[in-house]
Symmetry: C2
Subunit: 245 residues, 2 copies
DNA sequence: CTGGTCATGTGGTCACTACCAGTTAGATTA
DNA sequence: TAATCTAACTGGTAGTGACCACATGACCAG
């Protein structure tokens, strides 16, 4: 990561500056609760306008790296374990962050007609063809979740089992192959008990408590793209969120 | 809500404009997926600069009311049931939004010495006095959660049982009496089973599944203020989050 | 009919300028 | 000494002006 702003770089300047500042925080060059240079000082240091400085700082504030105090200065947030705040992460990204090796077993991958309940959530007519993917999610090779995804894709936009095999991250495939960028999701969490089939697949006793997550994923244009249902083993999974006002 | 910008109003203009635009969306004057006037048009309509217009729109985009498409325009998001996105809400606000009548029974309210585990989460020395509040939370008069809060307050900053009786919202008391504004929280969710005592209090069978939430609340200056543990009845509570990238 | 070009409208980025609103520390005053 | 004032910081709000990147539709050439 460079230490100066390159005006010929394709990246916008506020973006470059944000990276530089983030780096200084992550490297520990700037310690928690200490102030960073004032906006007017940064203006001189990096030879860019205050508008741009503020835009860079805005980003870092929203991401939880910095906080401002009117009249006093801008300060480094005390670092928490989780870097990004309430970020939308895929299952595999999520586990990697916790230092657990993600893995998966694909149980099936096929086209189905949208059931009424799911069609409603995806805001499409009942019966529209959807790509359904059933997977067992593994953490360090032990089952921790049972995941069923329904993707609203056009028939041309096929995803093969080998596509999935590679990265494992469905979100990366959506982004790279179809230019669908996951940008928002609504998620509910509740508690249920394992049915006999679920118990077998997750290698737990029947009736063991599970965390049930249902998520609807939206693309850039706020169109619903995916409906996912995940059953997590209660004894192996903890859900984390950072909430902001 | 006024329909024009008042330069003498104490509220900043971008704030006033955001309110006006939000109102038009909520009133249905601007329909989902339709475009709103361009930034240059709004400049003329409200006689304020594009800088300010963009700041107002930025807020609404982050709150999920609008989305932008480069080169095409700014559009109204399809409205979801929940208005604000991933907002930090108190228990009572949360229930009210769902149309459930919140209630509570205060089981105890007293000062205790911080146990090691909690002291660590609140980033204070073990043994520091903390205000502990134990409550049974009710929804439409049926128990749905068992809540234990530990508040890092100075001994002068007392909260009495009658304070709590009134609003019921601890967050409002913190804000109004002590100028502590809840601005961020880290929360984990997991599954457990009810112990005999918990079962009695929540009026459920022993061993019934519960949703266990642990939350650390931070104030404006990112200092930890409260540690809360809530046990939700699995059959009566569903947790909702909106995630953003 | 097809493909390219181009003008125009949109949001995105950036600089410069000005003034307002809290905070703080040092000078001043009672 | 203690309270007050003030100047010099800090971030917050706002206007103006410029140019870039992307989308779209009208037009034209093949």
């Amino acid at each position: 990561m460079s230490r100066t702003i390159d005006p010929y770089n394709a990246l916008p300047k506020y973006n470059q500056l944000a990276s530089i500042l983030r780096q200084k925080i992550e490297d520990g060059e700037w310690l928690p609760r200490t102030s960073i240079p004032s906006e007017r000082q940064l203006e001189v240091i990096y030879s860019i306008s205050r508008t741009t400085i503020r835009e860079a700082i805005d980003h870092l504030v929203r991401q939880g790296y910095l906080y401002r105090e009117h009249g006093r200065g801008t300060f480094v947030s005390p670092q928490k374990l989780q870097k990004g705040l309430m970020e939308l992460t895929s299952f595999s990204e999520d586990l990697l962050k916790r230092g657990i090796q993600p893995g998966q077993i694909i149980r099936s991958l096929n086209w189905v007609d949208a059931p009424a309940k799911i069609a409603q959530k995806l805001e499409i007519p009942t019966g529209t063809p959807l790509l359904r993917i059933e997977r067992i999610r593994l953490g360090d090779n032990i089952p921790i979740g049972l995941q069923t995804s329904y993707l609203a894709l056009s028939p041309e936009q096929a995803i093969s089992e080998s596509d999935m095999q590679g990265s494992g991250s469905l979100y990366r495939i959506l982004q790279e192959k179809f230019n669908i960028i996951p940008s928002e999701a609504d998620e509910t969490l509740e508690v249920t008990l394992a049915t006999p089939e679920e118990a077998v697949l997750l290698e737990i006793p029947e009736g063991a408590p599970l965390l049930l997550s249902e998520r609807v994923l939206f693309a850039q244009n706020r169109k619903p793209v995916e409906y996912v249902k995940i059953l997590y083993r209660g004894d192996r999974y903890q859900y984390f969120v950072r909430l902001t006002r």
